[in-house]
């Protein structure tokens, strides 16, 4: 018996130990780093304390009855019922509390809806399963993909500090400036959330939603997609870097230069090996989540590319489906998502990887011409 007890204690300790060691017992909302998030936090705390106060009174009366008016203690039931004064009071008092609560809530909401006079405009587009950030005034854009390795998710590797909350290209915004976000989506509904900003807005295909933020503290802020958007909904984080204005301006100049270089790459003469190398990377970010890294897909929703008739024979059809998508299915049009170089590289890769050894290649120029013909 004693042995069993010891074992049970040891087992319980073993189970609880990691909990107490890593312990992250964050129980409340964080006040965040913007005036909006601070206002939300104070609304949250106010309503929470109101609820606690009401709870203490109501449950207090109830527990008093439970302890004092038990039949087992010989309580004799009273027979009172209906009392207009009491009933009017417990209708009017909650109503008054609600009105008092509605006033600051309305003020905050009005402020949150004021998207005028912004300094920077950024268009955010949700894709299955990544975000595109387009700096409207500066003529460049990029995709932001989760960068947590699949091996960490599959438990083959220790999980990093920012597990699932890290991306290859974070959104960069200047501190102290009013940044307006224009949100939309390319396929299904997504929702863009950064808790520290108090900003959450749905990105809906066919709609453009507006919201804004002004961050005063430089830093890296993390959030996630919060509207179920398919199988990798849990794997499309949002990472925002708020940097001082000079740093931001430098970064923008750099991005514009890179965008220009990328355009010039279309003109370059590419070899099969170069395209394969670039294609493998582009495939991993744009295609692998559905068609899988080994090209076997997840039929029937996501067909296999390995050994598929289209990838082996139908070159015209292959270019068409990648550029224009397949309407009515989950296959998106990548024509506007990827550069000509990446489109050519992906198609070339798909026609030569996993034993699809067609030896054929498509050049960026061919893709450019194909798009122009349309």
């Amino acid at each position: 018996m004693r042995v069993h007890a010891k074992r049970a204690v040891a087992l319980a300790a073993g189970l609880l130990l990691p909990v107490t060691v890593m312990a992250d017992w964050t129980m409340n909302m964080s006040p965040g780093v913007t005036s909006t998030s601070n206002q939300i936090f104070s609304l949250h705390m106010t309503i929470l304390w109101i609820c606690v106060a009401i709870g203490v009174i109501v449950f207090g009366v109830m527990f008093w009855s439970i302890f004092a008016h038990r039949k087992s203690r010989g309580a004799k039931p009273a027979n009172f019922h209906e009392n207009t004064v009491v009933e009017v009071l417990w209708t009017i008092i909650p109503l008054a509390i609600l009105v008092a609560m509605a006033i600051p809530a309305t003020a905050t909401l009005v402020e949150m809806y004021d998207t005028t006079e912004s300094d920077v405009d950024i268009k955010i587009t949700g894709y299955q399963w990544r975000w595109q950030y387009e700096y409207i005034d500066d003529d460049f854009s990029f995709f932001s993909n989760m960068s947590t390795p699949r091996d960490q998710i599959r438990n083959r590797q220790a999980k990093g500090e920012h597990y699932l909350l890290e991306v290859d290209n974070p959104l960069v915004i200047p501190v102290g400036k009013k940044v307006r976000f224009l949100l939309t989506a390319n396929d299904v509904i997504h929702s863009w959330w950064v808790p520290a900003f108090g900003v959450k807005k749905d990105a809906i295909p066919g709609f453009i939603n507006e919201t804004w933020t002004r961050v005063d503290v430089p830093g890296t802020y993390r959030g996630q997609c919060t509207e179920l958007c398919g199988k990798d909904h849990g794997f499309m984080p949002v990472v925002v870097k708020a940097v001082p204005e000079e740093e931001y301006n430098e970064w923008v100049a750099e991005q514009r230069e890179m965008a220009e270089m990328e355009r010039q790459l279309t003109e370059k003469d590419w070899t099969l090996d170069e395209l394969m190398e670039r294609g493998e990377r582009a495939y991993a970010t744009a295609c692998a989540s559905c068609h899988q890294a080994d090209g076997t897909g997840l039929p029937p929703a996501f067909p296999a590319l390995k050994g598929s008739q289209m990838a082996l024979e139908d070159m015209e059809g292959h270019i068409d489906i990648v550029v224009n998508g397949a309407p009515g299915t989950a296959m998106q049009a990548f024509g506007n998502q990827l550069s000509e170089v990446d489109l050519a590289a992906v198609i070339t890769y798909e026609r030569n990887a996993w034993g699809n050894n067609t030896g054929e290649m498509v050049t960026p120029k061919e893709i450019f011409d194909y798009k122009n013909q349309q």
Partner: protein
């Protein structure tokens, strides 16, 4: 027709038919009530086992047990089965058993339709559950099935899901018509509307809600069907459609639906609290008006589920104010229950334990509901585990504890035996602890920033998820004990008198226990 009349004259005081045909062909409200309750419990276990899969996957960060695709199928099917298969049929089962007994009627008003509305349900769920075995898997877009994820991007099985929803809707509407016809036409002489037991009142109002919103649900899934198969673009922006329209129509059904799942429990709890306090309900009339007010207001608050879709400011404000207003009649109900207990003579048998837990925990769910109603704060809460905590607090200790309380309260009437009180109390305490362990930490997870419907999470959410999973396993396993208690009670036990609870009131306690196959062939007189 004559053949039916003939058999009837031959054995006038007949009991149930023998064998399977008793259940297939029965028009007896007690048989049909039992079948509804059994079906609902089976669905509760099925939906619950899916919740166990979800909690097992979320026990630790990383993907261990299921793939994200299957995880999404589990969350979707868990929601659909619990809402349409467990909670709603359980209340219809209680209505079938108790409404005729409570209003002094011999049976439901439309007994043949009653049989059909039950037998449609297993058909609907057979179709729904079979999608798990189809190529491409079961629906994976959440129980709210937002377009275009459920249309353009849905799996092939979506069509089967749509037809299953149609059939469930037909079943619910027929059940609701039956309830209304029974209550309005078959009350015992002298039972005026304001003398009806509260369970009857709440079910009458629920039935009107059902008739109002189930066609809306049927409409929205039909529009999906059109989008998927017939080239329309109701919800497809690229064809001029509107994905947000889907949400408006869905929640116009969905919000009254949440009251459909709770109002009958309000009624049952009112009887139980009064019975075990040995004291009349504090404010009968104000309870009736509060339920009516909640029902009417439930049609005006649907867009509070959509505060983040980008509604205009005026719309945001309207839905925020309207939603906050619902707290008033709900508060009236809670205050009434507490005042009923105050200075009563309380005892705590299993029905009362579940009812007291109902009042406390449902109120906590109501508090988080009030927090969610504050639109600016909702931007932080929306689609996080805070919402998951909120609606599980109103559904599990709300709807489901309400059903358990009702089941223990009326089991002696149904079976003629007392259930095992010790086991029932064990069932209560394990459920109570398990449920709170499972769902309370979800508030913290949501506030700390964990989105809902994700198969894997960032490391800071690990600890509370572990606790939540342990609680969920505990709650899940405990429900097998309930099955055991009920089976034991059906098979035998202490003989139950006609009125096993000394404080209970109502016509159902005037008939013997177990209630004979046919009751109130001549209507009782209500003074």
């Amino acid at each position: 027709m004559s053949a039916v009349a003939d058999t009837h004259t031959q054995d006038h005081h007949h009991g149930p038919a023998k064998g399977i045909s008793r259940w297939l062909l029965t028009t007896n409200h007690k048989d049909i009530g039992s079948m509804y309750l059994i079906f609902s419990f089976a669905m509760f276990l099925l939906g619950g086992s899916m919740a166990m899969v979800i909690r097992a996957e979320l026990f630790q960060p990383g993907l261990q047990i299921v793939e994200p695709e299957f995880f999404n199928q589990m969350t979707t099917m868990h929601g659909l089965i619990m809402v349409f298969g467990a909670v709603m049929p359980a209340f219809v089962g209680l209505a079938n058993w108790m409404l005729p007994l409570m209003v002094g009627a011999p049976d439901m008003a439309l007994p043949r339709m009653n049989n059909w509305s039950f037998w449609l349900l297993p058909c609907a769920f057979l179709i729904l559950v079979s999608t798990l075995f189809m190529q491409g898997g079961a629906p994976d877009f959440g129980w709210t099935f937002y377009a275009p994820l459920s249309t353009t991007y849905g799996p092939p099985s979506t069509t089967f899901f749509i037809f299953a929803v149609h059939i469930m809707g037909v079943s619910s509407i027929m059940g609701a018509i039956n309830v209304i016809a029974t209550i309005l036409n078959m009350r015992a002489p002298g039972m005026t509307l304001m003398k009806m037991p509260l369970f009857v009142w709440t079910w009458l109002i629920t039935a009107f809600l059902l008739i109002a919103v189930m066609p809306v649900l049927a409409g929205v899934v039909t529009m999906m069907l059109m989008d998927i198969h017939f080239g329309t673009s109701f919800f497809d922006a690229s064809g001029g459609g509107d994905p947000v329209l889907f949400q408006h129509v869905f929640w116009f059904f969905g919000h009254p639906e949440v009251y459909i799942m709770i109002l009958p429990a309000f009624g049952a709890i009112s009887h139980i609290v009064s019975a075990f306090s040995r004291k009349p309900l504090f404010g009968y009339a104000s309870m009736v008006y509060a339920v009516g007010a909640i029902a009417i207001m439930s049609f005006m608050v649907w867009a509070h589920h959509m505060f983040t879709v980008g509604m205009p400011l005026a719309g945001q404000l309207f839905f925020m104010y309207a939603t906050m207003l619902i707290a008033v009649p709900t508060g009236v109900k809670v205050f009434n229950w507490v005042t009923t207990m105050f200075r009563g003579s309380l005892s705590f048998e299993a029905p009362m334990l579940f009812s007291v837990a109902f009042i406390i925990l449902f109120t906590i769910g109501g508090f988080s509901g009030l927090m969610l109603a504050i639109a600016p704060a909702d931007f932080q809460y929306h689609d996080t585990y805070f919402v998951v905590a909120h609606f599980h607090y109103v559904l599990v200790p709300g709807a489901i504890f309400g059903i358990f309380a009702s089941a223990y309260f009326w089991l002696p009437k149904w079976t003629g035996h007392m259930y095992d009180e010790t086991l029932a109390k064990t069932h209560f305490w394990l459920s109570f602890i398990g449920m709170n362990l499972a769902f309370f930490p979800m508030h913290f997870l949501g506030l700390a920033g964990m989105p809902r419907r994700i198969p894997d999470y960032a490391l800071q959410f690990t600890d509370f998820n572990m606790i939540s999973s342990i609680g969920a396993f505990m709650f899940g396993a405990t429900q097998l004990l309930f099955l055991f208690i009920v089976v034991k009670c059906v098979k035998g036990g202490k003989k139950a008198p006609a009125k096993p609870w000394d404080g209970a009131e109502g016509l159902e306690w005037t008939v013997p226990s177990p209630a004979p196959y046919h009751t109130f062939s001549t209507p009782p007189e209500v003074k």
